[in-house]
Amino acid sequence: MTDKPTGKPADQAPHKGSSLLRRYLGPLGILALPLMLGGCTLPSFYGFRGATKQGHDSFLLFSGTVIAAIVVGTIVVLLILWAVLRYRRRSDEMPKQFQYHIPLEITYTVIPILIVLALFGFTVVTENAVDAVSPHPAVAVKVTAFQWGWRFDYSGQHVSVLGETTQDPDPVGLNGRPCAPAVDCLGPGLVMPAGETTRITLVSADVVHGFYVPAFNFSRYALPGVTNVFDFTVKHPGIYRAQCTQFCGLYHALMFFHVVALPPAQFRAWLRSEQASSQPAASHPAASVASSRQGSPAASVKAAA
């Protein structure tokens, strides 16, 4: 601020205006913080930082909103505690029976509106980024959720991975290499290239399921009658555990899968080896083929790491 208060009435007006501006922009500034800091320094608040490009955008919004919520919550808690502790009944004196203070009421109506509009602005920007689908994805996978398992069809590649939860998940790779930690490798593996865009087309074969990869900060329903399309751009190779989130019946709690992000070259090698294998899983009715195979990409990513 350049102008200092000199006590002259003429200077009062602009100064008052700018302090008013600062008061209203304060909450906006808190929300803008994540963008200014670039996000890497933001606290995670026990959440995932987002292993995909899209998920990282969601994380920035999440973290910034938590900070704003903590600021607002702290102010309100302090007001409540102050009132509770300071105004405990100490005598039988009658307190002043005031009821209205219009300027104050307008203030605490307007400030929340501004905060909420700022959050809405960031929401729209982030949502557009997260929901955007690339016109030219590197890989397209059709994911079918069913009671109780997952099927991943690689469009145009004649490759299909299928796994059912009712079977005991087998986290051990083909060549005996363990997929560690085993708990990350439950259920069938959805293999995708790291650093490239993967298009997921999500459908359901029966009831509503929830396609949820916690580390990607993303979930979407597999809805019968609806085809959902979204993109993942995984940043680094790795294994990311995943699970059905929408209650879908008896074995809902066991409907696991996992995402295996391979370096692009290894991904294509995996795809070729799947094509070469004599019995495509697509024609195989049972999950045994896939569930014994799903450890393979997992093992190779460990080798790559």
Binding site: S58, G73, S91, P95, A215, V226
Partner: protein, 573 residues
């Protein structure tokens, strides 16, 4: 107004020649709103304890990974029934069937509800519906196991065969009608049976909130009833409204359900906001700060709540419209107004921390966190990363436990002396509060972390090695603490039953009309009414020198009503 003509009869009171049957026959045949209100409250509290017991079973199961206490099917039935009982049969009926039924006619100065027989029908439909839902446990296939939302097509005849699911649907049809009848009754009572001088802007906030709630019931419940009829038709009459095979649209069920479901959240919350808003001023010895702002905030919450249903469906991918996000976020504004009004009421008051007030402060803190996380969930990208996880479980339990339990028991402790003419034991009430308050935070804070670590809701078991074990254990410990706190509540009731301490008409030095009559009130509620010059007629009567001052220093209510009050049945009758 023709109704005015009826009032002199009320004001002169019905001496006790009106006594009907006593004992069991009284409870079975009464159309007195007080008896029906108590029936509602007792039934819903029994259901609360049943559903709470189920919650403890669920928490024991989740306290360790790979637990085998309950089978998958048993767990699925129990969490479905826990949610259904709590939401459909406890939280709503306890407020709008129980407390509102008892308190609203008293607060507006009416002898009874507008339609006493309809009121009785409401209760019996509710009781029948409740028993119908619980009967599911005694069928061959077990109770319904498709979560309290019963999404199609999981709730279809193919995926959920068996009578348990049908009983669940029929139960919602019965209790849905019960709620609509109660809604009609409340609206009519509040509009047409107010005492002389009781203008709309002199209604207690609890009454205001019940009016708005009743209107929301009339908007929302018919939609639920319709959805249930469709679901039942799909299951038994071969229609294909929600099945893809016959050209139906499964996601339509979610639209219908949440068009009921989100207003339902406010049907469950607004009555409890009203209770808190009536209680805080009493224990602060001050009028409610920003009374009119409070009324408009309630109205705008109700209006907004009918346009936000799709925020439960962000992850369906079919409603990515930012409109629903904006509407949902905007609800934070009137809710914030309420918070500041509650704080403003306590500000510079003389606050006494009797049990009801303690529960109110517990509500403020619980609902604050539930509300703030609710704002986060209104943003679709944040919803994507928390949807159907324990983050959401923690959020809505903080909201619903905050309202229905903290505020609900604030109301219970507050109005118990009015209903039974007896006091409850203060130390026991305070132990109940503190145990529950600590248990509440110990239970739900870890759940937020669990959700952010990726634990989905409605899972009967989870693998070890994910870092979920300890947090689940802590949450379970908290839930046991909550359960223990309710033993003190029951002990308190028992003490008051065995060793009654007379409460008197107005033990709290309260503000609203119901504290003017005896405890419990006589058959038609009032033998005489005080003049109603503000929203605090009882306070004005007992503290003529401590009337409300408006912000510009003038005293409210003096200008136009004085003469009218004297002529329409003042205090000197």
């Amino acid at each position: 107004m023709t109704l005015l003509a009826e009032h002199p009869a009320v004001l002169h009171g019905h001496p006790e020649h009106h006594e009907g049957p006593t004992g069991v026959l009284k409870w079975l045949t009464s159309t007195d709103h007080k008896v029906i209100g108590l029936s509602y409250m007792i039934t819903s509290l029994v259901i609360f304890f049943i559903a709470g017991g189920m919650a403890i079973l669920l928490r024991v199961q989740l306290a360790s990974p790979h637990s085998s206490l309950l089978s998958l099917q048993q767990y699925n039935e129990l969490f479905t029934m826990h949610g259904s009982l709590m939401l459909y049969l406890f939280a709503g009926p306890f407020a709008f069937g129980g407390l509102a039924n008892y308190i609203i006619p008293l607060q507006v100065g009416a002898p009874d509800m507008a339609f006493p027989r309809l009121n009785a029908l409401s209760y019996w439909l509710y009781l029948t519906g409740s028993i119908t839902m619980l009967m599911g446990f005694f069928t061959a296939g077990g109770a319904a196991a498709f979560a309290w939302v019963a999404y199609a097509p999981l709730s279809s005849a193919i995926h959920s065969p068996g009578a348990g699911a049908d009983l669940w649907i029929v139960s919602l049809l019965l209790t849905g009608f019960s709620a609509v009848f109660t809604g009609v009754n409340l609206v009519t009572t509040i509009f047409y049976l107010r005492a002389p001088g009781m203008t709309m802007f002199r209604l207690p906030i609890f009454t205001w909130n019940m009016l708005v709630t009743a209107i929301l019931i009339l908007i929302a419940f018919p939609v639920l009833t319709a959805a249930m009829v469709f679901l039942f038709a799909d299951r038994h009459f071969g229609t294909h409204i929600f099945s893809v095979k016959g050209g139906g649209v499964p996601v339509l069920y979610q639209h219908l359900f949440w068009f009921f479901g989100h207003p339902e959240v406010y049907i469950l919350a607004l009555p409890y906001f009203g209770m808190v808003t009536d209680i805080i001023p009493v224990f602060s010895r001050k009028p409610l700060f920003g009374y009119k702002g409070m009324v408009f905030a309630t109205m705008s919450i109700a209006a907004l709540s009918t346009g936000v249903w799709a925020h439960h469906m962000f992850t369906t991918g079919v409603v990515l419209l930012p409109f629903f996000s904006l509407m949902s976020l905007l609800i934070a504004v009137p809710t914030g107004i309420k918070f500041f009004n509650w704080i403003g009421t306590m500000w510079r008051g003389q606050i006494r921390f009797d049990t009801p007030m303690l529960f109110c402060v517990g509500f403020l803190l619980a609902f604050l966190m539930g509300g703030l996380t609710g704002v986060m969930l209104a943003s679709p990208p944040i919803d994507f990363l928390t949807h159907d996880t324990y983050f959401v479980v923690a959020h809505f339990h903080q909201v619903l436990f905050g309202t229905a339990v903290f505020a609900g028991f604030a109301g219970f402790y507050f109005w118990f002396p009015k209903m039974f003419g007896r006091k409850l034991n203060e130390p026991l009430g305070k132990i109940h509060f503190w145990l529950m308050f600590i248990g509440f935070w110990v239970t739900y804070l870890p759940m937020y972390v669990l959700g952010l670590k990726g634990m989905p809701r409605r899972v009967a078991t989870y693998p070890s090695g994910l870092g979920w074990h300890l947090l689940n254990q802590v949450a379970s410990l908290g839930s046991y603490l909550i359960a223990i706190s309710f033993l003190f509540f029951l002990w308190n009731i028992w003490t008051s039953w065995r060793h009654p301490v007379a409460a008197g008409a107005n033990p709290w030095d309260a503000h609203t009309l119901e504290w003017f009559t005896s405890s419990p009130p006589p058959h038609h509620n009032y033998l005489k009414l005080p003049p109603v010059r503000s929203e605090r007629p009882t306070w004005d009567y007992f503290h003529p020198d401590a009337r409300t001052i408006s912000h510009n220093g003038r005293r409210n209510g003096h200008v136009k009503v004085g003469a009218e009050v004297g002529s329409t049945g003042g205090s000197d009758q």
